[in-house]
């Protein structure tokens, strides 16, 4: 969650480098083509591998049940030169369900910080009145693997609409046909964000996901671990960022509940409470049609290190290409 991550870092009064892409379309394309190249190429390779995954065959080799492990290893190898930091730009507690095989989910995450940081913090733009628009494209390959790609953008006060960064998110899950009592999934999110928007430019997040539906009730737990590989938080090591959600289906089309987002500091020693982030979102999910996903909520920060008020909305559509 970008807005929360920003306020993790102490204020040092540093000025932001004037590095606006702004309305200069050519420059944006240049930036995208150079900086997005690695995450996008990884996404493309995984996409192509995933096409082969339908019969678990690459070339003439049959990998059988070892295929999920091979994919994970390949993802990690490809990610190695990139994994130098980690950050999060969407406000969402993940469920264990993957996008259906052969389908592509396109989501728009729109987050507006109503009351956030009002000064430049360690070279990072203030979050107050920042509008973050994130496009997430996720393709389902089979019943245990999907891969997502993020494009993060931001409009902060006094700034044009800026490209912020990109992440790639391969995710594996326990197939439903195993009939586990809870849904289980593991997400890896790796990517880059510009220095003006984060003190850490390369980040990696490992997000275990456990969820369960019981009648009208739903709960999901994401005990995420964040790691910076390039930036000022590198020395913090692994940071524990738990997320939790529960909701109740009031009707077939309307579910409401609470989402919790936290970041408590390094696993080797949590931050002081005042430095931790805790935020609660009363949230609504609308199920207007099987191909649509709509979620919105209003988040209240519980500590001084947390943005005080954020409005969020997720609008998603499943394509069957």
């Amino acid at each position: 969650m970008k807005a929360l991550c920003f306020s993790l870092f102490p204020v040092d009064g540093a000025e932001c480098r004037d590095d606006r892409a702004g309305a200069d379309l050519v420059r944006i394309i240049k930036i995208l083509s150079s900086v997005c190249a690695w995450p996008f190429m990884m996404w493309l390779i995984i996409f192509l591998m995933g096409r082969c995954a339908f019969d678990r065959t690459i070339g003439n080799r049959h990998f059988g049940n070892a295929y999920p492990v091979l994919v994970l290893i390949l993802v990690l190898i490809l990610a190695a030169p990139l994994t130098r930091a980690q950050e999060n730009y969407e406000i969402q507690v993940y469920g264990s369900d993957l996008v259906d095989p052969g389908h592509t989910m396109v989501e728009l995450h729109s987050n507006f910080t109503i009351d956030g940081s009002k000064t430049i913090v360690d070279g990072v733009y203030p979050t107050n009145h920042a509008q973050h628009e994130t496009v997430e494209i996720t393709h389902g390959f089979n019943d245990w693997f999907e891969c997502g790609f993020y494009i993060f953008t931001s409009i902060t006060e006094g700034q044009d609409w800026q490209w912020v960064g990109d992440h790639i998110r391969p995710r594996v899950a326990v197939p439903k046909k195993w009939h586990w009592p809870v849904g289980v999934s593991l997400s890896n999110e790796i990517g880059y964000q510009r220095r003006q928007y984060s003190v850490d430019t390369w980040t990696w997040e490992i997000r275990p996901i456990v969820d369960q539906k019981v009648g009208r009730w739903y709960w999901a737990l994401n005990p995420a671990m964040d790691r910076s590989f390039h930036g000022e938080s590198v020395n913090q090591g692994v940071v524990f960022s738990p997320n939790f959600k529960f909701s109740y289906d009031f009707t077939p089309k309307v579910a409401g509940g609470l989402e919790y987002y936290g970041s408590v500091g390094p696993v080797t020693g949590f931050d002081a409470i005042s430095q931790q982030q805790h935020q609660i979102f009363p949230a609504i999910d609308l199920n207007i049609a099987p191909q649509w996903e709509i979620n919105f909520g209003l988040g209240v920060g519980l500590t001084g290190a947390t943005d005080h008020l954020i409005a969020k909305m997720i609008l998603g559509y499943r394509f069957n290409f």
Partner: protein, 451 residues
């Protein structure tokens, strides 16, 4: 009587009583049953290298075709070689409640590892079937999701139809799983592979016919949950029986539509030589196995399929277009509704606002005739079934009809259907939706005979 003989008799009696109490009935007076049915785990190869592990009858799925003479008592021993209690329901027969094979009616279960003897007089004549009547709930590896089904043909004293060949087709889906439509939505059962007579399209032997032959296809939808539309391109089905009972007005149709548990007997004049696919009109379902090759003598090559006509199935074309006066017992309104239980969860069902076992029983007097008025206020069709009785379809989706006798009728979504039945078989009688997921989640009620 000496002491030794007394003790021997007492011991024998006590053992028999103990055996009865745990369901292990022996049959001392008639040691040999007419047929023995073994309920046991089976593996069937629905397609090359596609093995389905399920439960079947006598080592196969479907089970053997049983042929009994109408009115001639039969004795059946059922051995349950599985680890769960089972019930075998004789679907469409007018048998007593204690042998009908429904726990709700008081039929004793066949215990795991145990045996139970059923003895009854099979009637009426026609295409019936036998199947598991267990509860499955969310465990879609039980009851009618399994291979526990088979044809039961009760032979009349004289066959009403003349035909050259008779073929039994049982439709079924395999590897069921519960999934929601989209990310949310209620859970429904879907299948990964389908079969006719245990074989997916392209595997198993074709049906071999000769030009000019008159073939009687006896088709059973043995799916736990799905309706099916069946076509044989280049040929027409002349519907002669619905649920095993002759229809007043036999008619030709291009496509047969069947809800779960329905049977249709259709005559086909084989007058279009070639190699054809008889199968599901839905491409996805047919390509997933629901089909069989029909091969004329001296013809070979790839089986042909052409898109089936998109005709709407309507029972009333097989009936007399006349209204039936309200019967003496009166009208019993039954309103079917869905009760939301949560997204990605199984919905519950109600009859007149209540889910089984809380549903209000329907009280009847023996000998009276009643009209059941089904009002389906849900968005799903329901194949409702009345045990131990037949009913006459009197109104279907606003159209009056008469003379169509059935034991299952599909009540379309948001429609009303009326049936008349005579309470002529006293004993607790179950009425339910034959969609397994619906009956397991409340869509049942009882008919109780008043003394």
């Amino acid at each position: 009587m000496d002491r030794r003989r007394f003790l021997a008799l007492a011991g024998k009696s006590a053992c028999a009583e103990l055996a009865r109490s745990i369901g292990l009935q022996s049959a001392p007076d008639n040691p040999k049953a007419d047929i023995t049915i073994h309920i046991s785990p089976v593996e069937i190869e629905v397609a090359p290298r596609k093995i389905i592990k399920t439960t079947g009858y006598n080592g196969s799925a479907p089970g053997p075709v049983l042929r009994w003479r109408e009115g001639q008592r039969v004795t059946v021993d059922v051995l349950n070689e599985t680890k769960i209690p089972e019930f075998v329901h004789w679907h469409g027969l007018f048998v007593p409640s204690d042998v009908d094979g429904a726990e709700e009616e008081g039929t004793p279960m066949v215990p795991p590892g145990g045996m139970r003897r059923y003895s009854f007089i099979p009637r009426p004549a026609g295409t019936r079937w036998y199947h598991s009547h267990g509860h499955a709930g969310r465990d879609v590896k039980r009851a009618t999701y399994t291979g526990q089904f088979g044809f039961l043909y009760v032979e009349p004293k004289a066959e009403p139809e003349q035909y050259d060949a008779e073929v039994f087709f049982a439709l079924h889906g395999w590897e069921p799983h519960l999934e929601s439509q989209g990310d949310e939505g209620n859970l429904e059962v879907t299948y990964s592979i389908y079969s006719i007579n245990g074989h997916a399209l392209g595997s198993g032997d074709p049906v071999r016919v000769k030009p000019g032959q008159k073939v009687l296809f006896r088709i059973l939808n043995a799916s736990a949950t799905d309706q099916h539309r069946i076509a044989l391109p280049g040929h027409k089905f002349k519907i002669v029986n619905l649920d095993g009972n002759p229809v007043p007005v036999p008619r030709e149709v291009d496509v047969i539509e069947m809800g779960p548990a329905e049977r249709i007997d259709a005559l086909v004049i084989m007058n279009n030589p070639g190699v054809w696919i008889l199968g599901e009109a839905n491409d996805q379902v047919r390509n997933s196995g629901m089909g069989i090759v029909v091969e004329y003598a001296n013809h070979s090559g790839d089986p042909q399929w052409t898109t089936a006509a998109n005709t709407k199935w309507d029972y009333v074309i097989f009936g007399r277009a006349e209204s039936t006066p309200e019967p003496s017992g009166g009208v019993v309104p039954l309103i079917f509704r869905k009760k939301f239980a949560g997204n990605r969860w199984v919905d519950h069902w109600t009859i007149n606002g209540k889910s089984f076992p809380k549903t209000d029983p329907i009280a009847v007097h023996a000998g009276d005739r009643y009209r059941l008025r089904f009002d389906n206020q849900s968005d799903e069709a329901h194949p409702v079934h009345l045990h131990r009785h037949s009913f006459e379809l009197t109104r279907f989706a606003g159209k009056a009809t008469a003379g169509i006798m059935k034991d299952v009728v599909v009540v379309p979504a948001r429609q009303q259907v009326e049936v008349d039945f005579t309470a002529d078989n006293p004993g607790p009688t179950l009425f339910h939706c034959h969609q397994q997921l619906h009956m397991d989640y409340g869509f049942m009620t009882m008919i109780r005979y008043k003394s």
